[in-house]
Each structure stands twice: as structure tokens, then as C-alpha cells.
């Protein structure tokens, strides 16, 4: 589905990714694990087109999309939930969702569907998104990404910085999404246990390089923890 191949990328003079290759199988979940600053978010920014790599390619369904604008990637079935529970703070919850649904076939139905998935957003529909709690904003962020009915979902630390009471909810939703037919997921995480539960394949990223990869599942937990503690 998605192949990131030998990508070098960075900002100004610093290079963050030194030849990273990660693949997401059709309908499957791939997890990228690593510490802060390992380059996980940069990898997702490259995958989504917010950052142009210095070299290397990004392929979607075998087609080179390395230089395609992010909004065109969305049109091809990609969606992205960036780090930090991002939203449009001065738009209401409902407007945040309608904005994405505008001009789409079955846009209204897509909004109704994501509201069924996150019922709490329905009660908050008139409130400005900037006034929501972190957990609510993350639910809004995931809902926003799902409105375009993606085939590939990129998630950047979806439970980071969220009150513990909501973390379980969000993790459950993501596991449910991961099991959905026809949805592939690239999950970037620091929480090894959760990531391995969701993923069929994992990659450990350290200082901009993939240092180990393997099959997902809870059995891999020990190997990954050891790889990360070095």
C-alpha cells in the first residue's frame, strides 16, 4: 500500500532521517517505535508530503507520490492525525468536521458516521474546538481524519499527552479501526505494548535509522523493549 524507500530528510542544516525504509501492507498495521527525537514525526511528515525528502521515494499503490501536495494525497485516500491534538481552534467542533466534508460526495453521512464513532463530539458540536480538553480534541482529530474515508491512516502518537481516563477509549477505537476491512494504518508510538497489540509489523527507529524490524504482536514486546533500552 505505502512504501517509504531510503528516505533522507531534515530541516535546514540538520538531517533527521538517514535512509529510512518502512512499508505498510495492504489492510495491515505497521508501527514505528522510537524515543523522542528519533525522527518518527518527521517520517510521517514526509509520508504525508508536509516535508519534502532530500532523497528517497514515497510510493502509494506503487505510484511515486514523493512530490505530490498533501491535499492531493488526501484525495488518493491518505489521512493524517498529527501530533498534539491539532484542530482549528476558532471553529466549532461541528465546523471542524463540516469543513472537511464540504464538497464531498456523502459528506453529511460521513460526518454522521464519525459522530457515531465518537458520540461525545455530538454533545460538543457547538463549542469552539480550542476550548475542548486534550482528549476531546484528539477524538475530534481522529474523527476529522476519518471523514475523508481514508484507505491509509497515519497516526502520530495518538495517546500522547492525554488524560489517562480517555487513553483507553482512544486505544480501543484505534484497535477497532485497525481491524476495519480495507483500512491500512501507519502508527507512530512510544508505548510499545499498545503499538505491538495493534501492529502486524514493527520498526524501531533510532537517531534517524531503522535499527530493527519484525512481526508485531505481544510476543515481540520483550525484543522491542530491549532494542529500545540500548
Amino acid at each position: 500500500m505505502l512504501e517509504i524507500d531510503a528516505v533522507h530528510a531534515g530541516y535546514d542544516r540538520t538531517t533527521v532521517l538517514h535512509g529510512v525504509s518502512v512499508a505498510v501492507p495492504e489492510g495491515g498495521v505497521a508501527a514505528v517505535l522510537g524515543h523522542n527525537g528519533a525522527g518518527k514525526s518527521t517520517l510521517l511528515r514526509v509520508a504525508m508530503g508536509l516535508l519534502r525528502p532530500r532523497s528517497g521515494t514515497v510510493l502509494l499503490d506503487g505510484e511515486d507520490i514523493t512530490r505530490l501536495a498533501p491535499h492531493r494525497r488526501v484525495a488518493r485516500g491518505m489521512a493524517y492525525v498529527p501530533q498534539g491534538q491539532q484542530c482549528f481552534p476558532h471553529l466549532t467542533t461541528a465546523e471542524n468536521l463540516r469543513l472537511v466534508a464540504d464538497g464531498r460526495v456523502n459528506g453529511r453521512r460521513a460526518v454522521a458516521e464519525v459522530l457515531d464513532l465518537f458520540p461525545v463530539l455530538r454533545e460538543l458540536s457547538g463549542r469552539r474546538a480550542g476550548l475542548l480538553s486534550g482528549g476531546q480534541r484528539q477524538q475530534l482529530a481522529i474523527a476529522r481524519a476519518l471523514i475523508t474515508r481514508p484507505r491509509l491512516l497515519l497516526l502520530d502518537e495518538p495517546t500522547e499527552g492525554i488524560q489517562p481516563s480517555v487513553v483507553a477509549d482512544i486505544e480501543e477505537t484505534i484497535l477497532a479501526l485497525a481491524g476495519r476491512h480495507g483500512l491500512s494504518v501507519l502508527l507512530v508510538e512510544q508505548h510499545v505494548g499498545f503499538a505491538l497489540r495493534a501492529a502486524q509489523r514493527y520498526h524501531v527507529l533510532e537517531a534517524g535509522r531503522v535499527t530493527s524490524s519484525g512481526a508485531g504482536g505481544t510476543a515481540a514486546e520483550r525484543t522491542v523493549r530491549e532494542a529500545l533500552s540500548v
Binding site: 491535499h71 482549528f88 471553529l91
Partner: protein, 294 residues
Amino acid sequence: MTVVLNQSFTGVGIGAVLLLVALGLTLTFGQMGVINMAHGEFIMAGAYTAYVLQRSVDGTGLSLLLALPPAFLVAGTIGALLEWLLVRRLYARPLDTLLVTWGVSLMLQQLARDVFGAPNVQTRAPDLLTGNVSVAGVTLAANRLAILGLALLSVLALTLVLRLTPLGRRIRAVVQNRDLAEVSGIATERVDRTTFFIGSGLAGVAGVALTLVGPIGPTMGTNYIVDAFLVVVVGGIGQLKGSVITAFALGVLQSVLEYSTTVSVAKVAVLVAIVAFLQWRPQGLYTLRTRSLA
């Protein structure tokens, strides 16, 4: 009492003009952060559009009303072209944008001189707008009333577009979080151009209105550009409501001071008042505040 009322209305009239010329800037400067020194020349483009239309269509003043949509289109198109050719390459470089658009402003002025000649020209106002209207002993100039009406209508239209339409949602979203808008599937560059088109088009509308109160000339825009920026800065960047209040407040202040002193003294006093106000509230009258940005 009548004097006070008359003078306040004069102030409201000045305020309406200020509001009209600043309204487009609330989008291009307030929302997008572009310091567009050529905004005044979009006003001029609107005014000349009215002039050309009146000469080629008919001599009656009614064509001024008909000139509003074409003036919006002409000024908007020039603006969109400027955005596409230059401004979009200079986002996040405000000083370069200022210099480049200033250069464009001078070029457009020279272009107007070459095409229409250096002397000022005039349009004929509709008969309806030439006299005065008396309400309860207060004499109101009909052309000022018309400008006030046009200013309020423009504010209303802009507010409705921003609040209620899909385009308005996109414009606000791109301003608030560009990257997130882009990864949500919004073609942000196209939204930029559309925003610039509307902002510049509103300057064109202002240009038509200004033909009611003054001559049309190559440098007419420069008379208003500083005031327009002042209104947006004092009102609070990105806040339509702040600009509306500021425009009328400055207009009334100007007219009251003019009555008790002279025009130049009043102008200086207003500028001093603005400087003092910005010392006290550098962020302007209204600011955006949310939990996420706190």
C-alpha cells in the same frame, strides 16, 4: 445640539470611508498577514472602472451602482494575479512583501497615468445622491449616507461569507492552521488566492464609493492606504469587529477635532491618540484568545 449631531454624522461618514478601504485589508493583512502596499491601487482600479464604465455606458449617475460588481472583479483579478505572481512566493517574509508590493503600487500608479493621464477625473453621481437629507433638523449628505450603507452592507456580506459558507470555513481554517488544513484535503494555495481575490475586490468596491466624495487620480490610493492599515492594526489583527469599531471611532474623533481645531491639527492629534493607544494595547482592540493558544 444640532452642531454636535451634524459633526458626529460627518465623523460617521469619514468612518464609513475608512471602514470600506480597510475592509479588504482585514482579509489580506488581518487574516493572511500580507502587508500589501498596492492595496491603495486596487481602490484606484475600482474607481477607474467606475469612470470607464460611466463614460462608455451612459452619462447618468446610475451606472455607479452598476459599476460595483465589475469594480470588484477588476480589483479582485489584479489582486489574485499579484498573489499568484509575487506574494505567494514571499509568505513569511513580510519585509520583502512590503517592498515588492510597494514597487507594484508605483508601477500601477504609472500605468494609470499612462492610460488615463495624470490629471484627476470625475464621475457623475446619481441625482439621488447629490443633495442632502434632513432628519430631525440634522442635515445628512446623501452621498455620505450611501457610503455608510455600502460599508455596512459590505461588512454584513463579508461576515456572512466567512461565517456560513464552505469557502468561509476554508478561509478561517487555513488562517488558523495551514498544515492541518492542507492534510485535511483543502487546497490551501487556492484558498489563499481566493482570499486575496475577495480582499482586493473589496478595495475595488471602496474605490467606486470614493468617486462619490472625491476625484479619481493615479495617486488616490496613497491617500487612504496608511489610514486603512491603521484601522486594522488598532482594531486588532484578524478581527473584523475591531476594525468596524475602530473605523467609526477614528472617524468621529477626526471630525470632532476638525471642528474644534483645523484639519491638519486634527490629523496629527488622531495619530498621537493611535500611538498612545497602541502603547497601552499593542495587540489592538480585540485579540483572539483560546485555551489552545494561551
